[in-house]
């Protein structure tokens, strides 16, 4: 019902808002005509599917809603300045309204990841005035989080008297209190939505201060505010969006020499998450190095931040909560490389696939002259990135994509804006807009799909693999389970980016014929698809293209930090799997406590016991259309089958 009301409000709003934001009557009329045409199209579409019970109404409604919003935003943001009403505050109000309308949509399913824990701490603060969650866990059914299965997270600190604390810092929960008191869980999400709106206003104000024209600001606005990842995190209870807001406010405070703003912003940023404190420290160092006069101010702020860490220490017995100070030391250079490229190009967790507009920001950072605020911001983030990228969960763990770089997304948007000041890039913008619209439609229709178990596949790859029962996932780059596509993508994309950077720096004029570009894109997609349909050289048995008949995923989907395990498929006698693989000699990787007998094609293989470790067996893959692996005796976890 709430979702229906929000849809109706959105639909009515999209009739009313153009009258407020489009000042020129002809443009307004043209928009309304286009809007009416789109509506008619959907009415006709609905008449085709209205009696079909298999119709996915969620997707249909989401597509309609998102396309209508995209149509209006396109009309509004691409119109000449004189024909529209535009200011950072108006843009923030618009974005905030969209976030609030999406709150019921997001709450169709229970909150997930770290979200319920923040709600639990909020409830504890309101009800008991402390952060001890013992009574909350005892009476978990009464929690507004709606997660009766909630138990303490692995590594949650326990007090000397048995107090059960959360591993998360309590500052976000403190911020959620007013919202919770007004509307419970929805109020908590609405609070984050409010921060989202504030973030948009601050970012657009920063754009103005950095000399970005309103033409470019209007182009960047929809990608920043209404696309992933800001849209994803503005409608969920994570500290990322408030952190991004405080970070941008800190950058603005620093460049304007406003000590109070800077101090409050850095303090709030540091209290949200320990990892953000590296940003605060680096920003202060950058500020101190830039001008000698700043030392006094910097010291004062450091003093304040330090004293608040002392308060945290007094509360939970450690100033860094559940973390360790060694975590602040960068390590493992190869993991750093993998995290770096993964953050850029991974099919499920990379910027290119999940928020492609911000790749422009990456290009801009390397190519165009950066403004003062942007340089300051990037410098502040350097240590943060060096710390996070080598982590096993560089992709964010159980969360919507790009979790760790949400805080820098406004900066990437600012960098992209610098690029767009010099180049119009209509083809790039159009392609990126289409992809982003698709992402938003899926995000609105199926919000739970934003969480992925990070097994090396991607939603797109899984969907295509299931559709064709072929390993098409391998055509999509993955740095979680590094594949050849990832290597090709890294090399190719780096070469392309370097080429663009070189061209920009040398002032070369590159003109791409759109017809050739789109046709080539078509050819690339077709070739990729055809290649993907061919049998692979390696089969990971937990993948979507494998047809499972019995058995279960191992480790289970909800296992904490599942990405650290070598996933597989647990089989017992009678269970079988079918898959495609090129014929030849292959190595079968498995784990079996007491040994097992499996059948592949017409051959029987006896698997020796491996204990808790893994074992290998050389087998011959028959020349068959579809190969079936059946467990005859014993039990095993089938990991993968790899051609030699």
């Amino acid at each position: 019902m709430t979702v229906m009301i929000s849809i109706i409000v959105a639909l009515l709003g999209l009739v009313a808002v153009p009258h407020l934001l489009l000042t020129e009557s002809r443009r307004r009329r043209d928009y309304l005509l286009a809007d009416a045409s789109l509506t008619t199209l959907f009415v006709l579409g609905s008449s085709v599917y209205i009696w079909d019970p298999t119709t996915n109404l969620e997707l249909f409604c989401a597509a309609f809603l998102v396309l209508r919003i995209a149509l209006f935003v396109g009309w509004w943001c691409l119109a000449p300045e004189a024909e529209t009403r535009w200011s950072p505050a108006i843009a923030a109000l618009f974005a905030g309204a969209i976030y609030l309308l999406l709150v019921p949509d997001m709450l169709r399913v229970p909150v997930d990841g770290d979200e319920p824990y923040y709600v639990l701490v909020t409830e504890s603060l309101i009800q008991d005035g402390d952060v001890d969650l013992r009574n909350q866990y005892r009476n978990i059914a009464a929690s507004a989080a709606g997660r009766s299965d909630l138990t303490p997270q692995l590594g949650d600190p326990v007090g000397s008297s048995g107090e059960q604390y959360s591993r998360h810092q309590p500052f976000l929960s403190l911020l959620l209190i007013p919202g919770y008191l007004v509307a419970g869980l929805a109020g908590c999400v609405a609070t984050i939505a409010l921060f989202g709106a504030l973030l948009i206003r601050s970012t657009l104000r920063l754009f103005e201060e950095e000399g970005i024209s309103s033409r470019v600001s209007k182009i960047v606005f929809p990608f920043l505010a209404l696309g992933p990842p800001i849209l994803d995190y503005s409608t969920r209870i994570w500290p990322e969006v408030p952190a991004a807001f405080f970070f941008i406010e800190a950058v603005r405070g620093a460049r304007q020499r406003r000590g109070l703003r800077l101090g409050v912003a850095l303090l709030s940023l540091s209290l949200l998450k320990l990892r953000f404190s590296t940003i605060a420290v680096m920003l202060l160092i950058a500020l101190a190095l830039s001008e000698r006069r700043e030392w006094k101010r910097v010291l004062t702020i450091l003093l304040i931040v330090g004293s608040l860490f002392a308060v945290v220490w007094a509360l939970v017995g450690s100033s860094v909560n559940v973390h360790e100070t060694w975590e602040l030391i960068p390590s493992a250079p190869m993991r750093l490389v993998r995290g770096f490229f993964g953050t850029l190009f991974d099919g499920q967790a990379g910027i290119l696939f999940q928020a492609p507009f911000f790749i422009l920001g990456v290009v801009a950072i390397a190519s165009v002259e950066l403004s003062k605020g942007l340089r300051l911001g990037l410098w502040s983030g350097a240590a943060y990135m060096l710390l996070l990228l080598p982590r096993h969960e560089w992709h964010g763990g159980w969360s919507p994509p790009l979790r760790y770089i949400v805080v820098f997304i406004p900066l990437l948007a600012l960098a992209a804006a610098h690029l767009l000041e010099r180049y119009h890039l209509p083809i790039t913008r159009a392609c990126v807009a289409l992809w982003t619209i698709g992402l938003v439609i899926l995000g609105v229709a199926f919000p739970w799909q934003k969480f992925h178990m990070a097994n090396g596949e991607s939603l797109l790859g899984e969907a295509l693999s299931r559709l064709f029962e072929r390993d098409i996932s391998r055509m999509i780059p993955s740095f979680i389970r590094t594949n050849i596509a990832a290597l090709v993508m890294s090399v190719g994309a780096c070469a392309a980016i370097l080429g663009v950077v070189l061209a920009i720096r040398r002032g070369w004029r590159i003109r791409i014929a759109p017809q050739a570009f789109f046709a080539l894109l078509s050819l690339v997609l077709a070739s990729g698809f055809v290649w993907g349909l061919r049998p692979a050289r390696r089969v990971q048995f937990e993948d979507a293209h494998v047809i499972h008949r019995g058995g279960e995923l191992y480790p289970a989907q909800w296992t904490v930090a599942r990405f650290r395990y070598r996933g597989g498929w647990r089989m017992r006698p009678g269970d079988s799997m079918s898959f495609l693989l090129q014929p030849g000699f292959a190595t079968f990787y498995y784990q079996s406590d007491g040994g097992a007998v499996v059948n592949v094609g017409d051959q029987h293989f006896e698997l020796s016991p491996t204990g808790s470790g893994g074992g290998q067996l050389r087998i011959v893959v028959p020349r068959q259309e579809l190969i079936t692996l059946r467990c005859e005796q014993g039990a095993l976890v089938a990991d993968k089958l790899e051609l030699e």
Partner: protein
């Protein structure tokens, strides 16, 4: 060095080089788009329909549409349709949705090309515009119009690509070009003419083969109505004779009206001057005055006569007369551009979008969508001229209303029983069902006219009350009545509540002639008996395809 100066130094040489490079890009785009579609077609096992096999040509149509709008600054963007087609072909496993998406991409590409061509101005030194833009600021020269018409006609006429029907399609395309050229001489907007020609391209039946002469027959009739010359009269008479009696009837109407208007206006023959004699009675003079005022509206009179005749003819001939009526209505009318262009073009493009089932368009003319949707579309296009806010609100409310009306579908149970004349069959009742819908069709009954009895349905409720309903042509029809090879001779109208089941693809698609007959009772149904009429032809049968039960 000298060569370099020649090539790059002087502006004319550079322009030539750019043009050559531009042509190469277009060739590359055409090759890549076609190759991509062929690759997908060769690999994807689910692309098995004749429309899927036509995918490379559809991609080529999209590239050509873009090429036709190349003078517009964003014309080359239409090629974006090519990757969209590839993506749709790969990810959409649902056949209806996939084919509909092909149609939509194709129609949108042509629509955008039309809009861009109409708004673009040729480059300096390029070709000059044959037609000046009208008050809407839009202009389309004849070459562009013909290109766009052919782009629309190719998917409409050549799917499925069969050796047997290709000549007919080629003849139709030739006729369409002639018709468009003839129409473009009229006073209405070029886009209206283009839309009318596209509608003819979409709907013209091609079996029997002589019907493929219909577009050229229309072109000659339009010429006859304009010139009234003996040469065009003879030529059009010859084509009409080749087409059949119905074409001769059309020729007679056109010839009579065009010559009589010439007579009234005083051109051609001296007989009219006799009417101007002072001895003529007063009523004769008044009639002459009225006739004189009508002389400028000859095509409209012809159009009205065609529309009127359509009411009295069998479905296929009715369609041909309606098409002729539309063509004459636009050929002579100087209607306001905006109010006529949008609805007619929208109708034409909708037909292009339905090209995967183009054969079924004839029976379901103008479109196989609910009347409410058509009214909505017309209202929107009308309101678009007056005030679009109202149109937006209307569209939105209708969307919500359509969702409100969303209800679970009633399961249909296949029956699959055939009854010969006089035979009876008892259908099993469903517990608690008070409303049943029988889906019925016939076989070998295409020659029966409206209201011919087909069967009697008797229903008994739990209280012993008996109900009777007679089934006639109009409630159901021959299952193959609208098939391509039968449609021209069929006398069955489309059932009032058609089952809307389309079979086949492209020109071979047809609407299955089954009708749904609903019977509602206040009590639970105890018995349903269907008896085929004894008056049916000996070889005719009644087919009980399925039954739907609805419980309160």
């Amino acid at each position: 060095m000298a060569l370099a100066t020649d090539l790059y130094g002087s502006p004319p040489a550079r322009t030539e080089l750019h043009r050559a490079a531009g042509s190469l890009w277009w060739l590359f785009a055409a090759f890549s788009a076609t190759a991509a579609s062929s690759l997908i077609l060769s690999a994807a096992p689910h692309l098995s329909t004749p429309v899927d096999h036509f995918l490379p040509v559809i991609s080529l149509v999209v590239v050509c549409a873009s090429w036709s709008a190349r003078h517009h600054s964003h014309g080359s963007w239409i090629v974006l349709g090519a990757p969209l087609l590839s993506v749709a072909a790969v990810i959409l496993r649902d056949e209806t949705l996939r084919l509909a998406s092909f149609g939509a991409v194709c129609a949108i590409a042509i629509a955008v090309a039309i809009a861009m061509s109409a708004h673009s101005r040729p480059e300096a030194g390029g070709r000059s515009s044959a037609v000046a833009p009208d008050e809407t600021g839009m202009g389309l020269d004849s070459q562009q119009a013909v290109t766009l018409l052919l782009l629309a006609a190719v998917p409409l006429r050549f799917v499925p690509l069969e050796r047997a029907t290709a000549p007919a399609a080629l003849i139709i395309c030739g006729g369409l070009i002639a018709l468009l050229f003839e129409l473009l001489r009229g006073p209405a907007h070029q886009l209206v003419h283009l839309a009318a020609a596209m509608i003819v391209a979409a709907v013209t039946p091609d079996l029997p083969m002589k019907l493929s002469l219909f577009p050229i027959h229309l072109a000659l009739l339009v010429r006859l109505s304009r010139t009234g010359s003996i040469a065009s009269a003879v030529l059009s008479l010859g084509v009409a004779l080749a087409c059949g009696k119905w074409a001769l009837m059309q020729w007679l109407i056109v010839a009579l009206i065009s010559w009589s208007t010439q007579v009234v206006s005083g051109h051609g023959t001296p007989s009219f001057s006799l009417m101007k004699l002072p001895v003529a009675p007063t009523w004769t003079l008044r009639f002459a005055e009225l006739a004189r005022t009508m002389t400028g509206h000859g095509p409209l009179i012809i159009s009205l006569l065609f529309f009127t005749s359509a009411f009295f003819l069998r479905p296929a001939l009715s369609l041909l007369f309606v098409l002729a009526g539309i063509v004459f209505a636009v050929s002579g009318a100087a209607l306001p551009s905006r109010s006529t262009t949008s609805p007619l073009l929208a109708l034409a493009l909708s037909m292009v979008a339905l090209f995967p089932w183009s054969g079924a368009l004839a029976a379901t003319f103008p479109l196989p969508v609910p009347l409410s949707a058509l009214i909505l579309l017309a209202a929107l296009l009308f309101l678009a001229h007056a005030g679009t806010a109202m149109a937006a609100i209307l569209g939105m409310l209708l969307l919500l209303a359509s969702y409100w009306a969303l209800a679970p579908a009633h399961p249909a149970y296949p029956v699959g029983v055939t009854l010969k004349p006089g035979e009876t069959f008892n259908l099993p009742p469903e517990a608690e069902a008070r409303t049943i819908s029988l889906i019925v069709s016939g076989s070998n009954i295409a020659q029966l006219g409206r209201h011919s009895p087909l069967a009697r349905i008797e229903v008994l409720d739990r209280r012993g009350n008996a109900y009777r309903r007679d089934l006639a042509i109009g409630d159901a029809s021959d299952w193959a009545a609208y098939r391509r090879d039968v449609f021209f001779l069929t006398r069955n109208p489309v059932p009032a509540d058609s089952s809307n089941r389309v079979e086949g693809y492209g020109r071979s698609a047809f609407l299955r002639g089954a009708g749904r007959l609903a019977i509602r009772l206040p009590q639970e149904i105890a018995m349903i008996r269907v008896t085929a009429s004894r008056t049916l032809p000996a070889n005719a049968t009644i087919q009980l395809d399925a039954i739907e039960y609805r419980k309160p």
